[in-house]
């Protein structure tokens, strides 16, 4: 061991010891520890400046779990209607390896499907989304989305983290890491779902190799959104305070020996945050003061849309309270046993009829509400999906997975409104022009850009390697920016 290394370790150890004994908690001085280090250790969620002024302050990430069919919602394909019942021409399959479980069936359309153009933009919407269609001129479509993988598990992980395998931070975690919290009494990254989690579960809102403080916090339905947040009835406020102080002191001692243990740091933070959230979280999700008209606007008066509408109304309240990233996974309507997500391998008319009804009015209500409150200009709403569905049928009237070309959309600040970017081929199978292809990395780069973050400069050194949210890829879709 050379002198420099020895003195580095000595000084480092002493610095940490001093920090620990002086109490490494907010409001306590930290002699011998650099400001940046102390700040990171003591307050990982402190607000941080973006790289440049962002167009939006919050993101509502609407993951449509199970993968809706773009060609049954937004991407009208007259040729598909004409060719229904026939095999797909081989020219459309050039360069594709069809490895999806349903194999290759004949082209299929739902004969009852009707289409109409809406707004000045003339965007096409099917009869499944009559309420959302009224917002055609607020929306920015990306009709040339593509991804990798044809199974939900890996493609959902890629949608949320940029990688096909678990272990990387989700987009929300990167946002939380890069910008900190907009409200010290609430988590900066909140996850909600109605009834069911997506495949893969919490790895989709994990902080991966980032410190654990940046992971998503799940909000459950009901008046107390966070599991075990409430103080037990038999424990008084004073008793809770004493217990937390004891725990805090013990944790600080542990931290002195394992200063790189971010799980422990996150635990200290989470206890403190939990104490504050005992008051802030129930208030944030309490819809009691919302008017009946607002509730109706979000579809809370209908059993199919009530659960999802509830989440979106909460999302608006969280945006108002400064939460940076709200990740909402579409589950299924209360009481529904057959349809659990958008994954319509069979009987797509029934599946999409129910799922579209679940989300249509709530999302339309959210856009209307945000706009009316002047929040849509500073909020980004993203309709995201792990992939789309094939133009050929499966099991008679279903559709298989399609990672080669599908539609996602955004609405909110910094975007060209009523705009459509890219397209799929005439049957809706592949992105028509590969130079317009938008992969999940590109969506992430664009979302970060709108928040004022350069995805190339948002880095974290892990195991000696500089990691970034877009892995080795990512380009901002500049053509959709206002």
């Amino acid at each position: 061991m050379n002198k420099n290394r020895r003195s580095f370790i000595k000084n480092g150890s002493l610095g940490l010891g001093a920090a620990a004994t002086s109490g490494l908690m907010p409001g306590v001085g930290l002699p011998g520890v650099s400001t940046a280090f102390a700040s990171e250790l003591a307050e990982p969620l402190a607000p941080k400046q973006p790289h440049y002024p962002g167009k939006v302050k919050s993101v509502i990430w609407l993951h449509q779990n199970g993968a809706p069919s773009s060609m049954d919602l937004f991407d009208r394909k007259p040729m598909l209607e004409k060719m229904a019942g026939k095999p797909i021409p081989p020219s459309f399959l050039e360069g594709l390896t069809v490895a999806t479980k349903g194999g290759l069936g004949n082209l299929w359309v739902d004969k009852n499907r009707t289409w109409k153009q809406y707004g000045e933009s003339g965007a096409w919407f099917s009869d499944l989304l009559p309420n959302l269609a009224k917002h055609a001129d607020d929306m920015t479509f990306i009709k040339s989305s593509k991804t990798i993988g044809a199974t939900h598990n890996i493609s959902i992980i890629k949608l949320n983290t940029g990688e096909l395998t678990p272990g990387r931070p989700s987009l929300g975690a990167w946002v939380s890491y890069a910008l900190g919290s907009g409200n010290p009494d609430l988590p900066s990254y909140i996850v909600m779902y109605n009834r069911s989690q997506p495949r893969g579960g919490p790895v989709n809102w994990s902080s991966g190799f980032l410190p654990a403080a940046y992971q998503g916090t799940t909000f459950l339905s009901g008046s107390s959104p966070i599991l075990f947040l409430n103080r037990p009835d038999l424990v008084s406020a004073a008793q809770q305070k004493n217990s937390l102080e004891l725990l805090r002191n013990l944790d600080i001692k542990g931290l002195a020996q394992r200063h790189s243990d971010t799980e422990l740091q996150a635990r200290i933070r989470s206890y403190e945050l939990a104490e504050r959230m005992q008051y802030a979280a129930p208030e944030a999700v309490d819809l009691g003061k919302e008017s009946e008209a607002t509730k109706e606007m979000y579809g809370l008066n209908d059993s199919t849309s009530k659960g999802y509408g509830n989440l979106l109304l909460r999302a608006r309240r969280l945006v108002e309270r400064g939460v940076k990233f709200i990740h909402i996974v579409s589950g299924s309507p209360e009481g529904e046993t057959q349809v659990v997500d958008w994954d319509a391998h069979s009987n797509l008319p029934r599946n999409h009829g129910i799922m579209a009804k679940m989300v249509d009015k709530p999302i339309a209500g959210l856009l209307t509400d945000l706009k009316a409150r002047g929040l849509l200009d500073t909020t980004l709403v993203v309709w995201a999906s792990e992939f789309g569905r094939t133009p050929w049928g499966e099991s008679g009237n279903g559709r298989d997975h399609n990672p080669w070309g599908y539609t996602q959309w955004m609405a909110g600040g910094g975007l060209k409104k009523g705009f459509s970017y890219g397209e799929t081929d005439e049957l809706g199978l592949k992105v028509a022009d590969p130079s317009f292809a938008v992969d999940t990395y590109d969506i992430h780069a664009t979302v970060l850009h709108l928040l004022g973050l350069d995805h190339l400069r948002t880095t974290y050194v892990h195991n000696g390697r500089a990691e970034r949210p877009t892995v080795n890829f990512g380009k901002i879709v500049t053509d959709i920016l206002a």
Partner: protein, 141 residues
Amino acid sequence: MNIKNQFTGLNKVIRTTTILISFCCGLVFSSYAEDQTPDLGIDIDLMNFMEETNDSLTSNISLMNRDGALEDVVLLNELFVMLEEHFAEIGDYPEGARLAKKSTTLTAQLNDAITTDNYNNATKLGIELSNACKSCHEKFK
């Protein structure tokens, strides 16, 4: 020890020989493979090694680690030149040959960018190189 260390820990002559053997192994195996399309005779370990090197390059560019980035990019350039020659030899895969040539050009441009400390340009070229790799893997996986 990961595969990158296995390769980069060797001196240049042994490393190049090992890489050539990887190609040859791929070719031998491909001659026994039955009706698998397309079989390019490229060893999967070599591809993994190139991906690892690309990951390392991206990281070194982010960290502005000039020496590390140059070492990675020189190695990648050698490998892409070999890949280009391999595609020329087997023929029939113009898209593979085009992407290999594009990657060789990009690594040469990356070398210039890193040498002149132009890390902004190097970052953009690095993304282009990663996309070229991805396109090739999508085409020939």
